[in-house]
């Protein structure tokens, strides 16, 4: 769950990337010299990461998923695309220093419209290692060329050099969460409420993302390519765009809800999206403690046990840096990696509330997850 899903105030640079509002009348456009309504300020959903996933696939492979384009409606599924000029990256740390050692990089070609109005794009995937993996750049060894899967078509699968498979295209959004209820919960919490029934009263039991789609990048990679079976690794994703002849990172995401829960101001969310994981403890530590304190106050007021300061410190150190940790080959779900079917919100609610709040009332995705690659359900279509 990304900041934009929860607050709709996406990163400033993300906003800049799609901030295409403008002012009123050009001086010569209207004879009456009247107001001319400008396009709406809007973010570019094509570079707005919704979620990432990492999960065991059999004994020798691991699935990596990066989703963008939140809230794509059935009618818009046909024309949903990745941003051609953007650089999508999945970063992997294999030695626990929160610095990327491996990067899978994806770029997309121009949008081609098919006879039924659906669109597709070519894509290329590169794999970079070492120092090159740490930066945001279009470098590395090409490991796949492919074509996105247009809406309504069977998945097109590209083979990866060295083994594995790749997919890109529109899919059902695998995320399930009562965002409407959570937002009311958080608003009341930040307003100082300690009344549990009031705090929890806004949950609706409905999955806000049911019936909507995202644009997915799915990779099945050999375990050997990401440190080997049994290794503890960390995953995060970034999106960068070209500005002044440089790649500028405008999006970052790892664990669900970190930016949402712990960064309360827009400026904080914006800054977090531009940082690297190694910056997280310095940037976010106090926010994590403050949030845990606020929740602790609610728990205390209701006669429930709260975390001790030492425990809060421990949780902050687990959650930061914001990396989705995973033991390669391990079948356990979130917090070990993240499988699409994992109820991450329940897990995080439980973690944050010392086990006293265990569910948002939404426990499964609206579409079943297929067992075959790319493991995400097809898109909702009109």
């Amino acid at each position: 769950m990304k900041a934009s899903r929860n607050t709709a105030t996406t990163a400033a640079l993300l906003a800049v990337a799609g901030l295409v509002a403008a002012i009123g009348a050009g001086p010569a456009l209207v004879i009456g010299a009247d107001h001319l309504d400008a396009p709406t300020v809007k973010t570019d959903k094509r570079i707005d990461i919704t979620d990432i996933y990492i999960a065991r696939r059999g004994t020798s492979r691991t699935t990596l998923i990066l989703n963008v384009n939140p809230l794509t409606s059935p009618a818009s599924a046909k024309t949903a695309a990745f941003r051609p000029s953007a650089l999508y990256e999945l970063k992997i740390d294999i030695n626990g220093d929160a610095v990327a050692d491996i990067a899978y990089r994806v770029r997309f070609g121009s949008v081609v419209t098919l006879s039924d109005g659906a669109v597709r794009q070519s894509f290329e995937i590169r794999r970079a290692t070492g120092a090159s993996a740490r930066t945001n750049e279009w470098a590395g060894t090409r490991i796949a060329l492919g074509t996105t899967t247009a809406a309504g078509r069977s998945p097109r699968v590209a083979s990866l050099v060295g083994g594995g498979a790749a997919f890109a295209g529109i899919r059902d959004d695998p995320f399930f969460f009562d965002l409407v209820g959570f937002t009311q919960f958080k608003t009341k919490l930040l307003a100082g409420s300690t009344n549990l029934s009031e705090l929890l009263g806004g949950f609706t039991g409905s999955d806000t993302f049911a019936g909507t789609n995202v644009s997915s990048i799915v990779l099945d990679v050999p375990n050997a390519a990401i440190g080997g079976t049994g290794r503890n690794i960390g995953l995060w994703a970034t999106v960068s765009i070209r500005q002044n002849a440089q790649w500028v990172q405008v999006e970052r995401m790892a664990r669900p809800a970190i930016n949402t829960v712990f960064n309360n101001t827009k400026a904080e969310k914006e800054a977090a999206n531009r940082l690297r994981p190694t910056d997280d403890r310095a940037f976010d530590h106090s926010n994590v403690i403050a949030t845990l304190d606020a929740i602790g106050n609610v728990l205390t007021a209701n006669g429930l046990s709260r975390y001790s300061p030492a425990q809060e410190e421990g949780i902050a150190n687990v959650l930061l840096p914001d990396i989705l940790t995973f033991k390669v080959g391990n079948a356990g779900g979130f917090l070990n990696g993240r499988q699409p079917a994992n109820d991450v919100i329940d897990a995080e609610l439980s973690l944050l509330t010392n086990g006293h709040i265990t569910s948002d009332g939404v426990n499964a995705n609206d579409a079943a997850f297929p067992a075959t690659f790319p493991y995400l359900a097809g898109p909702h279509l009109p």
Partner: protein
């Protein structure tokens, strides 16, 4: 001679009443949708042969040209979700977004109303929700509720001083309210926190109003390029190109303007703004048939009174058999559209006042409308409209006072200078009238075919 024809079908000139215009929206949109798409611009990216092949033509905007069917399906989808869960601020915000899309594509004022309702519902469920704030700002500005837009943005900026949505809303509202110092502060802050097409085009507008057209062109050109680089598509990208086209036209570069408008039509085949721009250029070049053709297409897409009034002028200028009747029909349509706009008719008030003054119709009514607008909206164009209406009503001295206010920023605009010149002429200030009218025609000799002709005729009579 440069021509500005584009590869889309043209409707034959014909009388078009308000109902006809509404029907024609649907008809022409189908024609336009069926027209072959122009070749996408090619973008070279040097990243190795395989990728080059794949990425050439990246960001093809025509691939995302708006489809009214898709917009209407989205409206049904998101509004249905809001109906089922009234607290669903996410769906309410998406609903607002697609209502705005519909409003911009068709000029349907009812869609603005629904967008207003949707944003209100989203913000009721989640106060301060950034995207909803942005959309609400857009809606309020579109409905000419400038003070409401300003008053919504200000408290948000107290909490989040760098919020780009609130900054752009505050700046836009201030601009229309004539609070140029506030507008500049907001735009400069926006540019600082989010240097972008959005900030540059706004600063360009201010530069134009401040009498620095070259700077305005530079900023607006950068904005159009930036919008493309930022991934703007369809109507959004076309809008930027049209702003550039209009500026180039008004600063004596019709060839550049034509390229900008034609490019806008590639981005968005439904761009009525581009068609109006091309019509202006064709008319300025004396090709009245082509100008009328472009305007007819624009009217079929969005029947705005501005455009209909402009076409009536071209009919009058062409003066073929039957043109007088066509012009009269168009003038009746202008009034009908404003009348049918109902409670939202206020959005056409200024247009109507200038239209009446341009054609010497109901001068007292023109003054009353312009005066009413000035009560809440004291911007450059507001004073200009008032001055022009006062002159039409024979109140040249009052008009001169209002015109002085309109020119207070030093704006170098042919239409403003023409109005000022005509006022000076009415006050028998020959030298000043000559200087102003000469300046107006020097800036843009064909700023408005009918009015430019009047300017030349008046110049010829000056001592």
């Amino acid at each position: 001679m440069t021509t500005f024809a584009v590869a889309t079908r043209r409707l034959p000139p014909r009388a078009i009443g308000i109902l006809g215009a509404m029907v024609a929206i649907a008809v022409l949109s189908q024609l336009v949708a069926a027209a072959p798409k122009p070749a996408a611009p090619r973008v070279a990216i040097a990243n190795g042969p395989a990728l080059d092949a794949g990425l050439a033509g990246a960001d093809n905007p025509s691939a995302d040209a708006p489809g009214l069917d898709r917009i209407r399906a989205d409206i049904a989808f998101w509004s249905g979700r809001v109906q089922r869960q009234p607290k669903d601020f996410v769906s309410a915000t998406e609903w607002a977004a697609v209502e705005i899309e519909l409003a911009r594509a068709t000029g349907d004022l009812a869609a603005w109303d629904l967008a207003e309702r949707a944003t209100a519902q989203a913000l009721d469920a989640n106060p301060g929700y950034g995207a909803a704030v942005g959309y609400r700002g857009t809606v309020l500005l579109a409905l000419h509720r400038f003070a409401d837009a300003r008053d919504m943005a200000r408290p948000i900026l107290v909490d989040r001083p760098n919020d780009p949505f609130a900054l752009s809303t505050l700046g836009d509202a201030s601009l229309d309210l004539g609070a140029y110092v506030d507008a500049r502060a907001a735009y400069e802050a926006l540019d600082k926190v989010a240097h972008s097409a959005a900030s540059m085009v706004r600063l360009g507008r201010l530069a134009y109003l401040d009498g620095h057209p070259d700077e305005a062109v530079r900023l607006t050109r950068q904005a159009a390029d930036a919008a493309d680089a930022e991934g703007a598509q369809g109507e959004r990208l076309a809008w930027y190109r049209c702003q550039l086209g209009a500026l180039l036209e008004s600063t004596g570069d019709p060839r550049g303007a034509g390229a900008a408008f034609s490019s806008a039509l590639v981005d968005d085949p439904r761009s009525w703004l581009a068609r109006v721009g091309l019509a202006r250029l064709e008319a300025a070049a004396g090709r009245l048939d082509d100008g009328i053709g472009h305007l007819s297409q624009a009217i079929a897409i969005v029947p705005l009174p501005d455009t209909v009034a402009r076409r009536s002028d071209l009919y009058e200028l062409r003066d073929h058999a039957g043109d007088a009747k066509l012009a009269a029909n168009d003038r009746a349509t202008v009034e009908a559209i404003a009348r049918l706009a109902g409670a939202n008719g206020v959005v056409y008030d200024r247009t109507l006042a200038v239209y009446l003054a341009n054609h010497g119709l109901e001068p007292a009514r023109a003054v009353a409308i312009a005066e009413k607008e000035l009560a809440t909206r004291t911007d450059v164009d507001g004073y200009d409209a008032y001055a022009w209406a006062l002159l039409a009503a024979g109140r040249a001295a009052d008009a001169d006072v209002a015109m002085t206010r309109a020119l207070a920023l030093g704006t170098r605009d042919a239409r403003l200078l023409y109005h000022a010149g005509m006022i000076a002429a009415a006050l028998h200030d020959g030298p000043r009238a000559r200087q102003l009218l000469t300046s107006a025609l020097g800036l843009d000799a064909t700023f408005d075919p009918l009015q430019a002709r009047r300017a030349r005729e008046t110049l010829a009579t000056l001592p």
